[in-house]
């Protein structure tokens, strides 16, 4: 007979989260011992370097590598013409490892070399002679969509990388005879993730193991699938071995595929390990920032503030190649619609190829860009109708039981409580003289049921080690968000041990379960659930074996089991007993979390996630009207991410995500001079320093959601979403006029309040 430990005896480590358990990896980091990708150095390692296009659009007439190949110390030279590769891609297949006959942006990969040291590799790159014939370039996405514009890709006519038109409800009726229609054009620039560690990869080709990519990735399995396809290697012969990751924020989901593919190709050709490391300038000019968006949006509202409909025409700037831009464009075009009860919508979104840097994804996947537009319109409508922006949001925001305009099923939802809490904390009813105030709300999915309909969940293994410790094997990645600490806490709570007894392993694709990885705010909810299930399975096995060993049913508390007869058994004893009984097998629990299929249909209508997180932010700003300089004094971030597993790391997510939101609102954004990135350094592309941030006040509205492990939900992406709308609304409140283009720099605000147009 198996007896489960009685509930009352289980010590709830989950409740001790306030103590802020942290993964032991922080000690390696704080002492400088953690090994990051840039620190890697393997015996016999060569240094790879990429030759890039100096033109936004040109035909390659000739590539001469003779001089480079003759340089002493050069071990491999690759050009596109000599590679037999089919186009590959993430969302659409439009890239080659190296350009063959055409380059499409300044930075496009033309050739790659591997040499004994970096200096020789740089010299070799300079020794390659390329003859180009310049072609007309198109850098503005709206121009790219016009007839007669230079065409980038033969199989994407009209420069349309992806597009979608969508009607739900009856938007025509909604706009006919409406009490009020508000309309505006909003622009959001391309944003770099600005992780502080530049991307690098050491590729090793070994006849026995195949290719190993030593690089830190948010989704190692997704990347090795693509790399295996390009190299034409069996999937089981392509591995990712992750060093510590110096920041991701979406930028390392697929990372920089060219770096991984080219280092692998150079390793194959040279027979030695090859390291390619991007410079900071290459990060800015040939990385994968998030798309710029031009959002033309209008909203129709009844006199009492009820939203009746929303129309949007969106153009997103793909750049020369499409990494995840179609998916990000989709999120921009629809996610934010589900935060309110909007009965009718009409949307057109077009993703345009331009001769600029290709684009990928960033934390929150463009939801923040849509938030800026929608939340601005809400305040514009409230102002025109003489309504309180708080009341208007409370009137329209979604609540438990709702099905949104896109079919999202709203489960446990504390959005209205978040709004009330944020407004109260910012002093909405006692506004200070000379300050501006703004509100904004957000919804964000916890992973996707429809991204890959055949792979909706996650799995994990929980292994009892011979010393009684627990090892969790998961493909979910931690790069400081606190995921692995949360996983240790979840497993510990299930097994009734201390989290410090749990080790989480995820960095070797050879041993980790296949996983979608760190994206779409899925890890805590979906990955965490798999860990809970694995730990439950292991617990069953432990109880069964322990009962066998003791010859009587057992209970367990704090990692020690006790039989009915009073015999105490340590986990290590049970592990050894099983070890002996099976001649060496470890006791392993399997966790398989497979969410039910979604009702998602062809039009994209349906419930896309097992759970949603909610947030409301309130901001207080001050505007210097003589200069246009905006100071954000205080930001209250109220979040419903279910039960919080670890308040210390959850607060860290809010401080850090809000900081990125402030950066995107006030400081950041790509500047282009035709196709050339005009601010390709951290001095010119300014991210917030310690002096640029407001006081940030996190509030957790902890409503348990049964979808996630122990009632918890995701937090990491939604944290930055509402910042943009809230800051824009506060700035408009302070300025008396609205700025509709980000970032809200002093110059732009000054132009708006003075009515002056500055010549660029």
């Amino acid at each position: 007979m198996i007896l489960k430990a009685p509930e009352k005896n289980i010590r709830r480590y989950g409740k001790a989260e306030g103590t802020g358990y942290q993964s032991p990896e922080v000690w390696s980091k704080v002492t400088g011992k953690a090994v990051y990708g840039i620190d890697l150095n393997l015996p016999g390692m060569l240094y790879g370097k990429i030759l890039r296009s100096p033109y936004p659009h040109a035909r390659i007439k000739k590539v001469d590598t003779t001089a480079a190949e003759a340089l002493p110390g050069v071990r491999a030279v690759l050009t596109g013409a000599k590679l037999e590769s089919k186009p590959f891609g993430i969302a659409v297949e439009d890239e080659l490892p190296l350009a063959v006959d055409r380059v499409r942006y300044i930075g496009d990969e033309v050739a790659a070399v591997a040499a004994v040291d970096l200096q020789t590799a740089v010299q070799a790159i300079k020794a390659i002679k390329v003859e180009y014939e310049e072609l007309p370039a198109v850098c503005d996405p709206a121009e790219a969509l016009q007839e007669g514009a230079p065409q980038l890709h033969d199989n994407f006519p009209g420069n349309v990388a992806w597009q979608r038109e969508l009607v739900r409800g009856s938007p025509g009726d909604a706009f006919t005879g409406a009490d009020l229609v508000v309309e505006e054009n909003f622009t959001v620039p391309a944003i770099h993730q600005a992780y502080l560690e530049p991307i690098s990869c050491v590729a090793v080709d070994d006849p026995y193991t195949g290719i190993t990519l030593h690089t830190a990735l948010q989704s190692p399995d997704a990347v090795r699938k693509i790399v295996a396809g390009v190299l034409n290697y069996p999937l089981s012969k392509v591995h990712v071995s992750g060093p510590v990751m110096g920041g991701g924020f979406g930028g390392r989901v697929y990372g920089n595929l060219k770096v991984y593919i080219l280092s692998a190709l150079l390793a194959i050709k040279s027979g030695s390990p090859v390291k390619i490391q991007l410079t900071r300038e290459e990060e800015f000019t040939a990385g994968r920032p998030m798309i710029a968006a031009a959002i033309q949006m209008k909203m129709t509202v009844r006199r009492d503030g009820t939203i009746l409909g929303r129309e949007a025409d969106i153009i997103t700037d793909n750049g020369a190649y499409s990494a995840q831009a179609p998916w990000v464009s989709k999120t921009v075009s629809e996610r934010n619609d589900s935060v309110y009860r909007i009965p009718s919508i009409k949307t057109r979104v077009r993703l345009a190829y331009t001769n600029k840097i290709p684009t990928g994804q960033y934390r929150a996947y463009g939801n923040q860009a849509a938030n800026f537009a929608t939340e601005s319109l809400i305040d514009m409508a409230a102002k025109k109708l003489g309504l309180d922006p708080l009341e208007m949001r409370l009137k329209n925001c979604v609540r438990e039981g709702d099905i949104t305009v896109h079919g999202l099923q709203i489960g446990k939802c504390g959005l209205d409580e978040c709004l009330k809490a944020a407004a109260k904390e910012i002093g909405w009813d006692q506004k200070k003289e000379g300050r501006g105030y703004g509100l904004s709300v957000a919804i964000h999915a916890n992973g996707s049921l429809v991204f890959d309909k055949n792979f909706r969940g996650a799995s994990a293994l929980a292994r009892l080690e011979l010393d009684g410790r627990i090892t969790i094997f998961t493909g979910e990645q931690d790069y400081g968000q606190g995921t692995h600490a949360a996983f240790a806490q979840i497993a510990a709570r299930t097994l009734d041990v201390s989290p410090a007894q749990v080790t989480v392993e995820s960095k070797e694709t050879k041993t980790a379960p296949f996983s979608t990885g760190a994206l779409a705010m899925r890890q805590t909810t979906i990955g965490g659930k798999a860990i809970q299930l694995a730990a439950e399975d292991l617990r069953e096995k432990i109880f069964k074996t322990a009962a066998e060993l003791a010859g009587a049913p057992v209970t367990m508390e704090n990692g020690v089991m006790c039989s009915i007869s009073g015999q105490e058994l340590a986990l290590a004893e049970v592990a050894y007993y099983n070890h002996s009984a099976t001649s060496g097998l470890s006791m392993t629990g399997e966790g398989k979390f497979v969410p039910e299929e979604s009702d998602y249909d062809e039009s994209g209508y349906g419930n896309i996630s097992i759970a949603y997180s909610y947030a409301a932010h309130a901001v207080e700003v001050e505007l210097d009207k003589t200069t246009g300089a905006l100071t954000v004094h205080r930001l209250v971030a109220a979040h419903d991410s279910g039960r919080i597993i670890n308040h210390l790391t959850a607060r860290g997510q809010i401080y850090g995500g809000v900081a990125q939101g402030i950066g995107m609102s006030c400081l950041e954004g790509y500047l282009f001079d035709e196709g050339r990135v005009a601010n390709a350094s951290l001095a010119e592309y300014k991210i917030p320093t310690a002096l640029d941030l407001p006081e940030i006040v996190p509030i957790f509205i902890e409503i348990e959601d049964p979808a996630g492990p122990y009632g918890s939900k995701g937090l990491g992406e939604i944290v930055m979403v509402p910042v943009l709308g809230a800051v824009a609304n506060a700035a408009a409140d302070a300025a008396g006029v609205r700025v509709t283009g980000l970032p809200l720099s002093a110059e732009i605000i000054y132009q708006a309040i003075s009515g002056w147009e500055c010549e660029q």
Partner: protein, 143 residues
């Protein structure tokens, strides 16, 4: 410590590539991010901007020195306690800037802490828990 090298090489390159001290990180090579911060005669500097020839006969302290003999420095301890370490890439430089600040000013106020770390970029944390950690470390060190 003695090493023979091109005096025009950066201190950062020599620390990492010649001396194997990889605790000091490299993020931009242009003095913009601060992850390579070390102490040169007790003052925080971006080691990527210091030609190693200028360092001859002077005292250089890196993150490795702070936890020698297996004991962590109170600044490091408080960084962990307050959750100030996320991806950790800025952490060694950030800890060294805090170390330099507390050497010069053992009782800083939060504004002084923010100024002291304003040359160290961090993309993860929003700096709040770093600031809290440094304030707490100052408290502990003065006891």
């Amino acid at each position: 410590m003695e090493t023979y090298t091109d005096p025009a090489e950066s201190l950062l390159m020599v620390l990492r590539e010649k001396l194997g001290l990889y605790g000091t990180k490299a993020g931009c090579g242009k003095g913009e991010c601060g992850v390579c911060t070390v102490l040169l005669d007790d003052r925080a500097v971006n080691s990527c901007l210091v030609p190693v020839g200028k360092v001859q006969g002077r005292k250089v302290e890196t993150i490795e020195n702070l936890s020698r003999g297996g004991k962590v420095h109170p600044i490091q301890e408080k960084f962990v306690e307050k959750g100030a370490v996320q991806c950790g890439f800025c952490t060694p430089g950030m800890v060294m800037s805090a170390y330099a600040l507390l050497k010069e000013n053992p009782r800083p106020n939060p504004d002084q802490v923010r100024v002291a770390i304003s040359g160290n970029l961090c993309r993860c944390s929003g700096y709040k828990q770093i600031e809290e950690a440094i304030m707490l470390a100052a408290d502990k060190l003065k006891d």
